[in-house]
Each structure stands twice: as structure tokens, then as C-alpha cells.
Amino acid sequence: MSEFFHMGGYAFYVWSAYAVTFAVLLVNVIVPLRAEQKLLREIARKAARAKRDML
């Protein structure tokens, strides 16, 4: 197993490459998820405020 992580002496390069790529993938998933939640909340707030102002 430690041989696997060692990557024939290229551990730093190989695992950094995989880490960067998976960080990129992760960001691509998180950004739209958070944006959607934020937007829905904002729309709800605005609607609530508009309702209050009408009263």
C-alpha cells in the first residue's frame, strides 16, 4: 500500500495533479448548488418584504 502512495518516487507530482483536478471538480459542483440555494432564499426574502410593504 505504501508503495502505491509512493508512486515510484513521483508521489508529489502524481498526487498533486489528482488533488488539483478533484478540487476543480468539487468546486464545479459546490458553486451552482450554493448559488441556487442563495438565489431561492433571496427571492423568498424579497417576496416577503414586498408583501409586508403592501400591508
Partner: protein, 259 residues
């Protein structure tokens, strides 16, 4: 009449359908990713010249293919938006840009991490590397135009022109290793179909390439959904949706305090 009906019904329809598709697409992406990584990291033998370092290729090449593929999708949909004034096409182009830019960045970084031990340098002004860097600048230019021009339609028009003109860079990236005989090696797979790679390495590469494509489609839908939501924010169904989401997301205590 039909057009009016279509316009009225379509964003909500898109929202529902994409909501149902995303989990499936994500699932396929996950399975392909797991299988490809397993075969690439555990099953494929070390390379006789590069040792274990070549395993970077399993993510570098799919990222590079995505960086070019997404650019073409972006340029084509921006062109469709420009010519036929299709707003969905503009949305697809706008949503693709940050995804494509991130894959271009991943390509450059992973390439650099492979180049250091193999070529002895992080970076050279080789034709392939330079044209890929230009691709990143094209994506960034597109996003800058989108965010700096206030008027949505004007922004879409200006950035579409940039995307279309910049598309000439994609064949340049692809053929750069053939036209200019500099440092970067020739393509792993050529259009002619002859692969300079053994099946035990080729199969994980192809599986991961498919996984990255599925990933792109999944996150593209997720981003386009946000876009639709933003544009439809005043419609009844979005208002209802927001109300529901807000009740689910906000803890009861802070809600009652706010009221």
C-alpha cells in the same frame, strides 16, 4: 399562440426535467469516475519509460479534451444565440465558460506537474502549452465581458463575437503538436484511430474521458438551472419554489425572530 404557449411553459418544464436528470447523470459520472480511477491507478501497469508518473495522463488528457470540447460547445451556442436570438443558447454559453476555464486550468497545472519530473521544467513556451494558455485567456475574456457589460443582451452579443473568433484556437491546440515539432508529444489518440497506447492504459483513459464529459453535462445543467431561476424570478412557480425552499432551509427560530 403556440410560441406564446411554448415560451410560457418551457422554463418550468426545463426546471422539472433537469431536476430529474441531474441525479442520474451525476450517478453515471460517479460510477465511470470510480471504475476509471480504479483501472488507471491500480490495474494499469507502470510505463516502461516514465514509470508511475504517466498516471497523471489519466486526468490530464480528459481535462484537456474537456477544455477544448467545452469551448466548442460555448462558441456554437453563443453563435446560435447571436444568430437566432435564442436565450437558452446564451445561457448554455454563459454557464459553460467557467466550467471550461476550470478544466483548462486543471490541464495546465497537471501538465506542469508532469512536465517537471519528465521534461525537467514546469513550463516551456511550446506551441501546445502556449495555445492552451491562450484558451484560458479566451475563457477569461468571455467571462469578463459577461460580467462587465450590464445589459444582458449586449453582454451576450459581445462575448459571442469573442467566443466565435477565438474558436480558431481550438484546431490550433489540437494540431499544434503536429504542425510545430516542439516539446509536447504527439496525440495519445489520433483521429485516424491508431492508438499509440496499450489497452490496459487506453481503457481507463477512455472511461475517464467519458466520466469528464458526463460531469460537464451534469454541472452545465446545474448552472443553467440557476440561470433559469434568475431569469424567471418574478414568475409564480419560482416564487412558490423559493417560498418552499426558504421554509426548509431557515431554522424555525430565526424565522420567528425575523417576523
Amino acid at each position: 399562440m403556440w410560441l406564446w404557449f411554448h415560451k410560457l411553459g418551457s422554463p418550468k418544464y426545463f426546471w422539472t426535467i433537469s431536476g430529474r436528470l441531474i441525479p442520474w447523470l451525476g450517478g453515471v459520472t460517479g460510477v465511470l469516475m470510480a471504475v476509471g480511477l480504479y483501472l488507471g491507478l491500480f490495474v494499469a501497469p507502470p510505463d516502461y519509460q516514465q514509470g508511475e508518473s504517466y498516471r497523471i495522463m489519466f486526468i490530464h488528457v480528459p481535462s484537456a479534451w474537456n477544455s477544448m470540447f467545452i469551448y466548442l460547445v460555448m462558441a456554437v451556442s453563443a453563435a446560435i444565440g447571436l444568430i437566432w436570438k435564442m436565450k437558452v443558447a446564451d445561457s448554455v454559453a454563459a454557464a459553460s465558460a467557467p466550467i471550461g476555464a476550470s478544466f483548462t486550468l486543471a490541464t495546465l497545472v497537471t501538465g506542469s506537474l508532469w512536465g517537471k519530473p519528465m521534461w525537467g521544467t514546469w513550463w516551456v513556451w511550446d506551441a501546445r502549452l502556449t495555445s492552451e494558455l491562450i484558451l484560458l485567456f479566451l475563457y477569461m475574456g468571455f467571462m469578463a465581458l459577461q460580467s462587465t457589460i450590464e445589459d444582458r443582451q449586449k453582454a451576450a452579443r459581445a462575448s459571442a463575437v469573442l467566443a466565435i473568433v477565438g474558436a480558431v484556437n481550438v484546431p490550433i491546440i489540437y494540431y499544434s503538436v503536429i504542425w510545430w515539432n516542439t516539446l509536447h508529444q504527439p496525440p495519445t489518440l489520433s483521429m485516424a484511430g491508431t492508438a499509440a497506447i496499450v489497452p490496459s492504459m487506453l481503457i481507463p483513459l477512455l472511461i475517464l474521458a467519458f466520466a469528464f464529459k458526463f460531469f460537464y453535462v451534469t454541472v452545465l445543467l446545474m448552472r443553467t438551472r440557476c440561470e433559469v431561476l434568475e431569469r424567471e424570478r418574478n414568475s409564480a412557480w419560482v416564487q412558490e419554489l423559493a417560498q418552499e425552499a426558504d421554509t426548509n432551509l431557515t431554522p424555525a427560530l430565526s424565522r420567528s425572530r425575523a417576523e
